[in-house]
């Protein structure tokens, strides 16, 4: 059905274009001087048909399922949903959906079969309605645009208005994405704080999100204090920065000041390759090579090292961030005016002195900006820590111990089936909110610093 709707739309666009084009040509051939070229008349019809109809189909498809489910739910016999939680209702609805799809397990109750039939009928109806509405709207738009064809009609301006509107809406999508992120995080976070007190989350030192599913289950009560998770994130980010910053800065200094053109030509692509490796690969590298290496190293010295030591995840993350910091530092050093460097060399300073006493201080805002952005990447990095760091939150800053991070918790809480009404799932969104705000603040700070620095020399 959906495909048919799109075919109708496409046909209407083509027919509208050809009709208007022909009509405009007929007028021109009649000897009248046209305001717009014939192509614009055709394009006007095509766009007038395409834009609203396409928009209608998309909106229809987006909301079709939600509406149908609501109708089916409302049509269920009274009482069957009485007193059931959202999770159970969702389960029943998905069972009905799978019956409707022809996958019947066991012998469902009669009312479920009826509801499934209802669902199928509604889907069919919705499909036909979509086709009908599409056809009606498309032909109406075709008719309207066909009526406009006239010598004095400003078709070009019409086309340009529509295109302008389309471009503006493309740009606005970026805003909608941000709004979507904030809204979805905020919405679920508020629901989380209705179940778990705000201060327990922010200042709690105990993170045990495994809450019992059934009443009689023996399990931890479920504690949602984010401090240990937060601390673990900082530990790993610190290890990563501890490795990435010196190596990144020194390699940038060498590349910028000492390396010949040929060395640069080799080293830069290598760093770019390091930057382009997907993080899931780094995660596998951490568990395959780095973690065993660190453990056997520790065994030699009798150090107790946890299998998921923060050191492994942190150091691999550091390797990932080397090219990031190095390219930022290289840019910052390159943006220092040549006159400063030449002046320093002219009064007899060595290259090393020029770098440490002149170039570096001048480039420091840009470098700090880059380091801050790297910190924000380290905090938000997910796959390396999901694969190589631990799951259990501990209040420790010992890098040999296993710690967990915000992103690890988000992923482990949400992997598998998720119900939107348990504090466990919602806790992931609260952590996501924390992560978003943290990285946002760091990014804004970093961009401020970089921008301020640019204003000095440009």
């Amino acid at each position: 059905m959906t495909l048919l709707a799109f075919v109708i739309l496409l046909a209407a666009v083509v027919i509208g274009y050809v009709m208007n084009l022909r009509a405009a040509r007929a007028i021109r051939d009649g000897g009248t001087r046209m305001h717009s070229l014939e192509g614009f008349h055709g394009g006007y019809a095509a766009l007038m048909t395409l834009v609203p109809t396409f928009f209608l189909i998309i909106v229809w498809l987006l909301f079709q399922d939600t509406v149908i489910t609501a109708i089916v739910k409302a049509g269920l016999p009274a009482g069957v949903l009485g007193g059931k939680g959202t999770g159970e209702v969702q389960l029943i609805m998905s069972e009905i959906r799978s019956i409707a799809g022809g996958r019947i397990f066991g012998t469902p109750e009669d009312w479920k079969l009826e509801a499934a039939e209802h669902l199928v009928a509604l889907r069919e109806l919705s499909g036909w309605l979509l086709v009908a509405v599409t056809a009606a709207l498309a032909s109406a738009m075709m008719y309207i645009s066909r009526r406009t064809v006239a010598a004095e009609f400003r078709a070009r301006q019409g086309v340009e208005r529509i295109l302008h509107g389309l471009m503006v809406s493309c740009a606005v999508v970026a805003i909608f994405v941000t709004i979507g992120i904030v809204a979805s995080l905020l919405f679920e976070t508020i629901r989380f704080f209705q179940m778990v007190p705000f201060w327990d989350f922010v200042l709690g030192t105990n993170w045990e999100p495994q809450i019992p599913i059934r009443e009689d289950q023996v399990a931890a009560e479920g504690a949602f204090g984010m401090l240990p998770v937060f601390l673990g994130t900082l530990v790993i980010a610190f290890i990563a920065m501890f490795i990435a910053t010196p190596i990144g800065l020194l390699s940038a200094v060498y590349l910028h000041e000492f390396a010949s053109r040929r060395v640069r030509g080799v080293v830069k692509p290598v760093l770019e390759v390091l930057a382009g490796v997907p993080t899931v690969v780094y995660g596998f590298f951490a568990i395959l090579v780095i973690a065993p290496a660190i453990r056997s190293f520790g065994d030699n010295f009798g150090l107790p090292i946890a299998p998921n030591t923060a050191l492994a995840a942190g150091s691999v993350m550091g390797i990932m961030l080397i090219p990031f910091i190095s390219s930022f530092a290289d840019d910052a050093l390159g943006a220092v005016p040549r006159s400063l460097r030449d002046g320093s060399l002219a009064v007899g300073a060595t290259q090393a002195e020029t770098i440490s006493k002149v170039l570096f201080p001048a480039a420091i805002p840009g470098i700090v900006g880059g380091i801050l952005l790297a910190v924000s990447r380290a905090i938000g990095e997910t796959m390396i820590v999901v694969m190589a760091a631990g799951l259990i939150a501990k209040m420790t800053i010992n890098p040999l111990d296993s710690v967990t991070t915000v992103t690890v918790q988000i992923v482990t809480l949400l992997i598998g089936d998720t119900a939107f009404d348990s504090p466990k799932t919602l806790a992931a969104f609260a952590l996501g909110m924390v992560l978003f705000l943290m990285t946002l603040c760091i990014n804004i700070l970093a961009l401020r610093i970089v921008r301020k620095y640019r204003e000095i020399y440009d």
Binding site: L255, L274, T407, L435
Partner: protein
């Protein structure tokens, strides 16, 4: 001149100056060496990364097979309904022929049959279903062996280690050596790695589902982010008035580029799956999520490409009477296209390696068939790597490395294409 130097009271040739110079030179050399060391560490890590992947991954590109003569006993397969035959029994009979001495010992026979992969019976079944005329005949099959024996054949299980510490016991190894001596053990190229979908058994697991899933996700991502990105960039670069609204959009795009990827996964989970009720694990939804992440990259690259078109082109077109939009769509955009495409390919390469948001929308499900439409459940290459890296079977270690090598090959190809396009088509004014 010497008078002047002496006037400052400093001896430019004296030992004090010499030692100071020495110190300064030393610090110069020290900095240089530190820089070299830093680069060497980065190099070393890249070598270690690639080296460890290749050294563990190359094993997965071959797979041990067993050449066996199978008698398709009509007793176990009904020619009317070949799909429901008892192929397990047929295989047991086959092994009985190979090892007549254990024919009566059922336990030993079962252990012998476990040399063959669990999927061997399906290989035979598929061939019989395709050609029921084979029933009653003896046919030669080339079937994969199970993971433990594959590891043994590749030398990853050392027969020298104490028996208690290895997966295969002495008699099992002896049996396998016997088969090897008969020359029925082969080690052909592992085509199953690319033609099979996922499986619980490492010897059968392949990347087809992940490759198709990634393809659909990237296609969706491209179809959404490319037009949206170009539209947004054109507006911001060529048409937008300098006001608060366009500033707001710019700040937004810059911030979006730095939002952690897992947050996009949360957005997709809450909005696409939660509010709009889209299907879980579908490449289409994954592609939409990736599109949101790729959008800022494409917008930034497109704006850079548009900026690089010299104003003289615009002025010339405006001068002969073109409208602002005719200038942009007729002249500026075509000239900027190579740069835009380069940026798009790099953005798509990033999207191909992205894992975290796909995990949150359930693209790490265990699915044993490739998706036939973008709306079916599927995995993607990076999530498949994540699943395999998490699997305890030993055979999955080399398969994970092999999958990573496949992913890296795609990424390198895409980046090489981008570089090629940049060098071939980009014009300098």
């Amino acid at each position: 001149m010497t008078d002047q130097t002496n006037a400052t009271g400093f001896d430019w040739d004296g030992p004090a100056f010499q030692s100071q110079m020495k110190k300064r030179r030393r610090s110069q050399i020290r900095l240089k060496l530190l820089g070299l060391g830093a680069i060497a560490i980065a190099f070393l890590m890249l070598m270690l990364l690639i080296g460890s992947l290749i050294s563990t991954g190359y094993q997965a590109f071959t797979q041990t097979h067993l050449k066996i003569e199978v008698f398709l006993d009509p007793e176990h397969v009904d020619p009317e309904n070949p799909a429901r035959g008892n192929y397990r029994q047929i295989l047991t009979d086959t092994m009985k022929v190979q090892f007549p001495e254990v024919a009566d010992d059922r336990a030993a026979l079962r252990r012998l049959t476990s040399i063959l992969s669990n999927g061997a019976q399906f290989t035979i079944r598929d061939r019989v279903v395709a050609n029921p005329g084979l029933i009653g005949e003896t046919v030669q099959f080339n079937v994969p062996v199970s993971d433990d024996y594959d590891q043994l054949n590749k030398g990853l299980i050392d027969p020298e280690t104490p028996e208690a510490h290895r997966r295969l016991k002495d008699d099992e190894i002896a049996n396998f050596e016997l088969l090897k001596d008969r020359g029925v053990v082969t080690k052909p190229l592992n085509t199953a790695l690319l033609t099979n979908a996922d499986s619980r058994f490492p010897e059968l697991a392949g990347l087809k589902g992940a490759l198709v899933g990634s393809f659909y996700a990237l296609l969706t991502c491209f179809l959404l982010s490319f037009p949206l990105g170009i539209g947004a960039a054109l507006y911001l670069e060529e048409f937008a008035p300098r006001n608060r609204f366009s500033d707001l959009i710019e700040i937004n795009i810059n911030n979006l580029a730095a939002v952690p990827s897992v947050v996009f996964g949360l957005l997709a989970l809450a909005v696409f799956l939660g509010w709009f009720g889209m299907p879980r694990s579908a490449p289409f939804v994954g592609g939409m999520t990736l599109a949101l992440m790729t959008l800022p990259t494409i917008i930034i690259a497109t704006r850079a490409a548009l900026k690089a078109v010299p104003p003289s082109i615009r002025e010339a077109a405006l001068g002969v009477g073109a409208s602002k939009q005719q200038v942009v769509f007729g002249h500026v955009l075509p000239l900027a296209m190579p740069g835009i495409l380069t940026g798009t390919i790099i953005g798509l390469a990033q999207a191909l390696g992205e894992t975290a948001p796909l995990l949150l929308i359930g693209m790490n499900a265990f699915i044993t068939s490739a998706p036939s439409t973008p709306f079916d459940s599927a995995t993607a290459l990076p999530t498949q790597i994540f699943i395999w890296a998490d699997s305890p079977e030993r055979g999955f270690v080399s398969r994970t490395s092999a999958a990573i090598l496949v992913l890296l090959t795609f990424l390198i190809t895409m980046n090489a294409l981008a570089i090629f396009m940049r060098q071939k088509f980009e014009r300098k004014w």
